[in-house]
Structures are given as structure tokens and as C-alpha cells.
Amino acid sequence: MLTDLNLSLFLAYKSITKGNKGTLVLTIFIMSLIFVNLVFTASIFLGLGNTVNNQVINTLYGNIALEPKKDEKYISDIRSLEQKINSVPGVTGISSQYVIGAAFSYKDKSGAWAIRSINPDDEKTVTIIHNFMIDGEYLSKLDTDEIILGKEIPGGYGGDLEHLSLGGVKIGESVDVLFNNGVKRSYRVKGVFDVNFQQSNNLAYISQNEMESVLGFNDTASLILIKTAETGNEEIYIKKLLELGIKEEIKPWTVYAAMVKNITKSFDMIALLIAVIGLFVASVTIFIIIYVNTISKRRQIGILRAIGIKENIIIHSYIVQAMFYAISGTIIGLFIMFLILKPWFIEHPLKFPIGYVSLLIVPEKVSINTISLIAAALAAGLIPSWMAVRETILEAIWGD
């Protein structure tokens, strides 16, 4: 048994080290490319999803959002509510907002967008919009007749939906706003932001003070955004908020992301499809490479059998060779992924309409791909050598 294993290893070792170097290098190189391709594709799609999630959290809803109780239009008593929420350890920011629809007009152009009202200092603790002003300035607390617009609204800033924009509002110019409750105001455009996320770039912001004057009441909100120290533990925070007796609807960001993700859902399916097809193609490719390699050794296999070497020893030696190709390819692929591509993409994220996308390399995906490749290599080593020992010795040596 040990003898057999020894001999298999000996034959595999010699075949790898003394065989054709070009074939060896090429095989391992192709293996590593296949591996990189698989992991890269998975990682870019995961990175895409991750970016969407981060955008939802950082520019729209925070980690957790409170909405009015059922059958109520507003959340009331927000000062004390904010205090309660703040008492939960790990809460790093709270921003109470009103969200209201409005019709905008400028010169002969008009359009409908949602306006959120904020206390700018609070908002900065939750969202990152203030960091993405591409023109003018962010709101300040005392601004009452000023508005900031996402880049889709004013026009002239290269929005994705330029044709629906106001056609070129400049900083300092006024836009007319008709709120859903019938109030009409005129605001000077103070700044334009671009967070690289269309949903967010379709929003306009005014100050909370101004909104209260539009609505005629205060200490209320229609949405409270909560930012927590880490992402992923929303359920724990929600439990704590419930324990505090909060009766409002509490929703984690994932609920909103799911809505946003209707766009990206088809996309997840594409990702899955590509992953499955990619894995299949990779397996077949590896199979073919090793298969051809092994088939070309058919005569050698015949000779080994003729001189009385056991079939299992021969098969095992080809499996060892195939494993060597697969494992070397995977290791080199991992190096390429983690030491070259990942750092490069962190430095140079790809700009997508939903934001900057970097690679998100998940251990599970890497493992699945590794295991699949090794399984393919196993089959690729096993099947042709098994076939080669199935044919007659004379066919193997002299057949064609």
C-alpha cells in the first residue's frame, strides 16, 4: 500500500518536474487565470451589491429607520424619542426628517421630486451627503430660503436623467416649489451634491426649520434615521429599541435596500448565472487540459501496464498530477487576487451608476470555487487515466 503510494508519487513527481516545462507552466497559468476569473466575477458582483447596500445606508436610510406607527402620518414627540434612541450604546447618529413630495419649476421646466428636511448637524452624523457637494455648499441650520439639490434635479451636472431635469439651474438661482400640501415657496439653490447613487441624487434637502414653517407644526418627523457603529447587527439594535418601548415602525436598511434592489435583483440572477456558467466552463476547460495531457501519455501508460505496474498506481499518479496543477493554479490565483487585483481595485474602484465598486472577496465564494476547480481536476485526472487503463495494453502502446 505504502509502496503503491510511493510509486504513484514518484511517477507524478518525475512527470511534473522532468516533463515538458512549457506544458507545465501553461497548464498552471491557465488554471490560475480560470480561478481568478471565477473569483473576480463573483467578487465584482458582490462588490456591486455591497456598494448598493452602503449607498442605501450612507445616503438614504442609515442602518435603521423609524417610520410613523400604523394609521399615523407623523412621528411625534421626537425630542424625547431621540433621547431614548441615543441611550442605546452603539448608536452613533440620529437624523429626524420630513419627507414630502413637491413639484419644482424653473423657467419653463418643471418636475416632481421628493424633498427631505433635515437638521444639517444631525444629518451629518448619519449620511455622507455633505462630503459629496459638487457645487455650492451644504445646508446650514439657519438656512430657511435655501435648498440643496441632488445632481439629477438642476440639470447641467451630467445626471443620468438629464432630460427630466430643470434644464440648467445655477447656484444662487431660485426654483419654485409647490409642496404636496399646497404650500408654495421659492428657494435659492445653495448647493448640488452627487453621491453617485441615482436614488439619492434625486432628492432635495431643506432645513428642518423651514419645513416646520411649511407644514405648520413642530417636534414631529416622518422618518428618523439611525446610524450604528457597525453594520450587520441591526437586529440586535432593533431588539434594544423595542425594549425601550418604541412603538414606531422600526425597519433595518435591508428592507429599503430590497426595494432599491429591485433594480439590482435581475443583476443578482445574472451574477448567479455567470457564476454557474463560469464554474462549468472552468471545470470543462480544466478537464480538457488535463485530459489532453493524460491522453498524450497513453503509450507510457501502456508501457507501465505491460511491465506489470498496477493500474491503481497509474491512475493515482495522474490524479496527483492533476491535483498539483489545480492546487498550484489556485495558489497562484489567490496571490493574483489578494496581492494584485484587490489592492488595485481598492486604489482604483470602478465607477458604476450606483457608485464606486471595488472587489468584495468572500471566503465562502473563494472556497466554493477552489473546491469546484479541484473537483474538476480530480475528474480530469481520473477519467482519462481510467480510460487508458481500460483499453487493452496493446491498444495503449500501439493503437492510434
Binding site: T3, I307, G308
Partner: protein, 251 residues
């Protein structure tokens, strides 16, 4: 010359291979080729026998059957009272490893292994100790005159040298019999002579039984016996080889 046979190790009249009614029919679609037809003869221990005959007469086919490289359509091959054709495939492989040696027309070495590695491979497969197979391998290569080529790869050696490596590989497990199918067909006359003299030396000195296919009439001067084949059957021809003890088992 008969003295040579009696000086062999083992019983000089011991029948090593008892071949009975061996028939091999190749079927190719509708066509059936009777490559060997009802062949019966014995090979004694210590013989150096040549199988001769025209091209297509069934020489290779016969050697392949005897060497357990192919399965005959019918017949028996007895070794020590057992019909080795009845063995399972893995038992046959063990038999080939431990008791048979092969030298093919093409040198049939593994290109990735050195001369020494090619030679010790069958010893390694038998589970012999490393120092043992290294030593025996070296000694065997010296025996075939290749003591200076131990670490050469096949492509770094001439055809004659490669063929001698193949012979050393065939010898390392002390086989009962060595099968050779036109071992000199690809060699020039000097190398051929060297190979045949080597067989003769091994036959005389260690009593190795050799069964060799050849189509060179001249080769008869090296062998102790000629087995003639014609259309797949044993044929009586020219009577007696130079060695003087031709035994054709055809009645």
C-alpha cells in the same frame, strides 16, 4: 552447446512454458483473422529461442499471448502447473512484474526518468527497499555495459543504449523469461550485434530464458532454437538451428 543448457540454474529439462492449442482470432467487423492457429509447444528453462517467420505470420501475436499482454481466443499457457490465462487481470499484472521481462522494438522507456530510474521502477513496484533497488539497478546497468550512463535520460542516449536500458529494466526483478519483439529492428548492425551478444551472455551466464522474435536469418547463430511460424501455425523449416537442439512441437 547442449552443455550450456545443462549448466543452467534450475532443472535443465524443466518446462517453463507449456503452450497448448493456443489460438488468437482477431475480429474486425465481419472479417476474422486467425493470427495464431492451435499452436502447441514447450519452452524449457534456459533456452534462447527465436521466433521466426514471414511478416504477418503471427510472431508478435504469439509473443503477446505468451507475455500476457493480450488474451488468446483459446488455449492454455502453463507455468508450474497452472494455466496463467485463468488468472485475474491484477494477478496477470503481478506475474508480468515479478516473473516476466519485456524488450520491445521501440525502446519503450519513460522519457521523464533517467536510465537508473527506468531500470529500478519494476523493483520499486515490487516494494524492494530503496538502497536495494538503487544498488541492483546500478549493478544491472553495469551488467549491460551502461555503468557510465546511470543518470542519462532516454533522449540523451543512442538507440542501442536505450535498448540496453530496456533490457536492464527487464532483468531487474530476476524474471523467469525475457520476451523480446524484434529488439534490434531499429538498430544498426553493430548495436544489433551488441544486443544479441548480451542476450547470449545472459543466457549462458545466468541461465536466463529468452524468447525473441526476429526476422534476421543471421540471428540464428546466437540462439539455441528456432520456432518457425507460417500463417499462424508452427512450421517445420530448415530443421535445426546452429545451436543444434531445435524442437518443434508439431507432430
Amino acid at each position: 552447446m547442449a552443455d550450456d543448457l545443462t549448466s543452467n540454474i534450475g532443472n535443465e529439462n524443466e518446462i517453463l512454458l507449456g503452450i497448448r492449442n493456443l489460438t488468437r482470432i482477431y475480429t474486425m467487423g465481419e472479417v476474422r483473422v486467425r493470427a495464431l492457429n492451435n499452436v502447441t509447444f514447450n519452452i524449457k528453462r534456459g533456452e534462447f529461442a527465436a521466433i521466426m517467420g514471414k511478416s504477418g505470420s503471427g510472431k508478435s501475436t504469439l509473443l503477446h499471448q505468451l507475455g500476457l499482454l493480450d488474451t488468446p481466443t483459446s488455449g492454455e499457457i502453463n507455468i508450474g502447473g497452472i494455466d496463467i490465462l485463468k488468472l485475474s487481470e491484477s494477478e496477470k499484472a503481478k506475474f508480468r512484474l515479478e516473473r516476466f521481462g519485456y524488450v520491445f522494438q521501440e525502446y519503450a522507456l519513460l522519457p521523464e526518468l533517467t536510465a537508473l530510474e527506468n531500470v529500478f521502477l519494476p523493483a520499486m513496484a515490487r516494494g524492494r527497499k530503496k538502497e536495494d533497488y538503487l544498488k541492483t539497478g546500478t549493478k544491472t546497468l553495469e551488467q549491460v555495459g551502461l555503468g557510465a550512463r546511470l543518470h542519462h535520460r532516454p533522449r540523451e542516449m543512442s538507440g542501442g543504449e536505450q535498448q540496453r536500458v530496456a533490457i536492464a529494466r527487464a532483468l531487474i526483478n530476476d524474471p523467469d523469461i525475457l520476451f523480446a519483439d524484434e529488439p534490434t529492428a531499429n538498430l544498426d548492425s553493430a548495436s544489433s550485434r551488441q544486443i544479441l551478444q548480451l542476450f547470449q551472455k545472459l543466457n549462458r551466464e545466468i541461465g536466463l530464458t529468452v524468447l525473441m522474435v526476429t526476422h534476421e536469418p543471421e540471428d540464428r547463430k546466437y540462439v539455441s532454437r528456432v520456432i518457425w511460424l507460417k500463417d499462424g501455425e508452427l512450421a517445420e523449416k530448415e530443421g535445426i538451428s546452429e545451436a543444434g537442439n531445435l524442437q518443434i512441437a508439431k507432430d
